[in-house]
């Protein structure tokens, strides 16, 4: 695909956009129809009550769970595990990536192993981590950190390698010290990569914690989802799942705002 670069910048006075058709009434209708069919399906017995709950039941369960404060320890467990695993994974991944790029020998030794690990589903290690670190917080932190580590490592090493070779040579020939190169060349070049890593990482952290809770835990949102499935409590299952979705959406929103704020720093 050819992109033309010789075009003049688009004039500021853009032609009036055709008034977009309003979607929200339709969306409301679709949503209402979805909830209605769901309700009637369960009510009429078409959907088994063992695996489906009425929408109102799900809502009531969620309301009770959150308003009574019963959800707090679970939210706290999942979020703190995800947060700790996230931080550990990002920092470790970035450090190892930097080590491998700046000590090329180490990079040469380990890169084939990293490429191998990159190709395998790392989530399969979750049962091992639960076995070794136990049912508590540690194993969830470890699972999250593991997933985030590799995302962070590959993102950062890609970023460090993509720093313009000419710029590196020029700064060197102008006599920049190692620390000067780090602060004036590598750090600014890494801002965009860091931001994308931060956003991808949080999804991996939540995923790692939830899967860790599926495999073995005694609290947490993922544990609630899994247990509700085993106990045939569909309202609890759906309620906890929706809660997880809301948490993930809120965290992602925050990171999008951060991303927008910092993306002005991107090097042209």
């Amino acid at each position: 695909m050819v992109t033309r670069t010789d075009e003049p910048p688009t004039p500021t006075a853009e032609p009036e956009v055709k008034r977009a058709p309003r979607n929200w009434p339709w969306q409301l209708l679709v949503f209402a129809a979805f909830v209605g069919v769901w309700h009637l399906g369960v009510h009429a017995g078409l959907l088994s009550r063992r695996s489906f709950a009425e929408p109102a039941q799900v809502f009531t369960w969620m309301w009770d769970w959150h308003s009574s404060g019963a959800s707090l320890p679970h939210l706290g467990f999942t979020l703190s595990a995800a947060g700790m695993g996230y931080l550990a994974g990002i920092v470790l991944g970035a450090s190892v990536a930097a080590l491998f790029v700046f000590v090329p020998f180490l990079g040469r030794v380990f890169n084939p192993f990293m490429a191998l690990v990159n190709g395998i589903p790392k989530i399969v290690l979750a049962p091992l981590l639960v076995l070794v670190f136990g049912l508590g917080l540690e194993s969830k932190v470890a699972t999250a950190a593991l997933l985030v580590f590799f995302a962070s490592f590959f993102n950062f090493s890609g970023g460090l390698r993509s720093v313009n070779r000419v710029l590196i040579d020029n700064t060197k020939s102008m006599g920049a010290s190692r620390s000067q190169m780090a602060t004036s060349l590598y750090l600014p070049a890494m801002v965009a990569w860091t931001i994308s890593t931060l956003r991808v990482g949080i999804a991996f952290a939540l995923l790692g914690v939830v899967v860790g809770e599926f495999v073995g835990a005694s609290e947490g949102i993922g544990w609630n989802i899994k247990l509700a499935g085993e106990l045939n409590q569909p309202e609890r299952l759906l309620g906890a799942l929706i809660t997880l979705g809301l948490v993930a959406a809120v965290v992602d929103r925050v990171l999008v705002v951060v991303e927008r704020r910092f993306s002005q720093w991107k090097l042209a």
Partner: protein, 284 residues
């Protein structure tokens, strides 16, 4: 040498051809030494931890019921290979991953085409898809087990759920980013709607689908494995999680080894296929 190139404008014969030649030979020798050193270190990276692991568990410094030992894992692997456990479970997981991938790919692309043909429908439904996309989809595993029961159906359903969204958003993005110029050209040359789709729009998706194949297969494998953690009756993930639940640590390590080997081989194979196909897609 570089200095000489810069300061002269006419070709100068090397003043002393012997010096650069030996220098070059020296560099080559040095490179050979470094390369062999790299290979030595790679071997050490594999052997030393294994030896240490064996030693520590032989001496009971680390608890065997948690950490097992390379010997025990090896025995378990041999046992599983001989009684067909590996073959049946690995093929089950791979089949789930591939079936789910193709089903998810098909649904995702179909939705993208539908919402491109009718932007009105797209405007209504895409926000819902974006909302669901924000939830870690692998967390749906228990729900799907509740709906579809243990085993095959719920495993494939989770893979489909994960793959559909990835492919839908990519295909839809690809379709929206089709070069307007190409569309205009195709129309100017008298292409029918059908021809525009087959010659301009679908190839644009095709390139993306091929380039994301490896990533998506990885995701599909992850989803299949997690689904087996939660509601499996067979498969690699089931081997790992059931061994954990029964504290058969050798089984956990063996299941992980099987995953590494199977997924690693699959990845190498897909890399080769990707290289082949990139030659093809360069022409599109």
């Amino acid at each position: 040498m570089e200095a000489r190139v810069i300061t002269t404008s006419r070709p100068v014969p090397p003043a002393d051809p012997a010096v650069p030649a030996t220098e070059l030979a020296g560099l080559r020798r040095r490179e050979r030494i470094v390369t062999s050193l790299v290979w030595l270190c790679r071997a050490l990276v594999v052997v030393v931890p294994l030896a240490l692991w064996q030693y520590l568990s032989d001496e009971r410094i680390i608890p065997r019921f948690l950490f097992s030992s390379p010997e025990a894992v090896w025995e378990r692997l041999v046992e599983w290979t001989l009684d067909g456990t590996i073959l049946s479970n690995a093929s089950f997981t791979l089949m789930n991953a591939f079936l789910g991938y193709f089903l998810g790919l098909f649904i995702g692309v179909a939705l993208a085409v539908l919402f491109t043909v009718s932007p009105r429908l797209g405007g209504i439904f895409i926000p819902f898809l974006t909302m669901i996309n924000a939830i870690p989809r692998i967390a749906f595993a228990p729900l799907l087990v509740a709906w579809f029961g243990f085993g095959l159906a719920s495993n494939i359903a989770l893979v489909v759920l994960v793959i559909v969204f990835v492919n839908f958003f990519a295909a839809y993005g690809g379709l929206s980013a089709v070069d307007e110029g190409n569309l205009l050209w195709a129309k100017a040359l008298g292409a029918s709607q059908w021809q525009v789709w087959t010659t301009v729009r679908l190839p644009a998706i095709g390139v993306w689908v091929l380039s994301s194949l490896r990533m998506c297969i990885g995701l599909a494998l992850s989803a299949a494995i997690v689904s087996e953690f939660v509601g499996g009756a067979r498969g690699i993930g089931y081997l790992a999680s059931s061994s954990t639940n029964t504290f058969k640590s050798a089984g956990v390590y063996a299941a992980i080894t099987v995953t590494i080997v199977v997924a690693g081989l699959l990845d190498v194979f897909l890399r080769m296929a990707e290289r082949r196909m990139s030659q093809w897609s360069a022409h599109v």
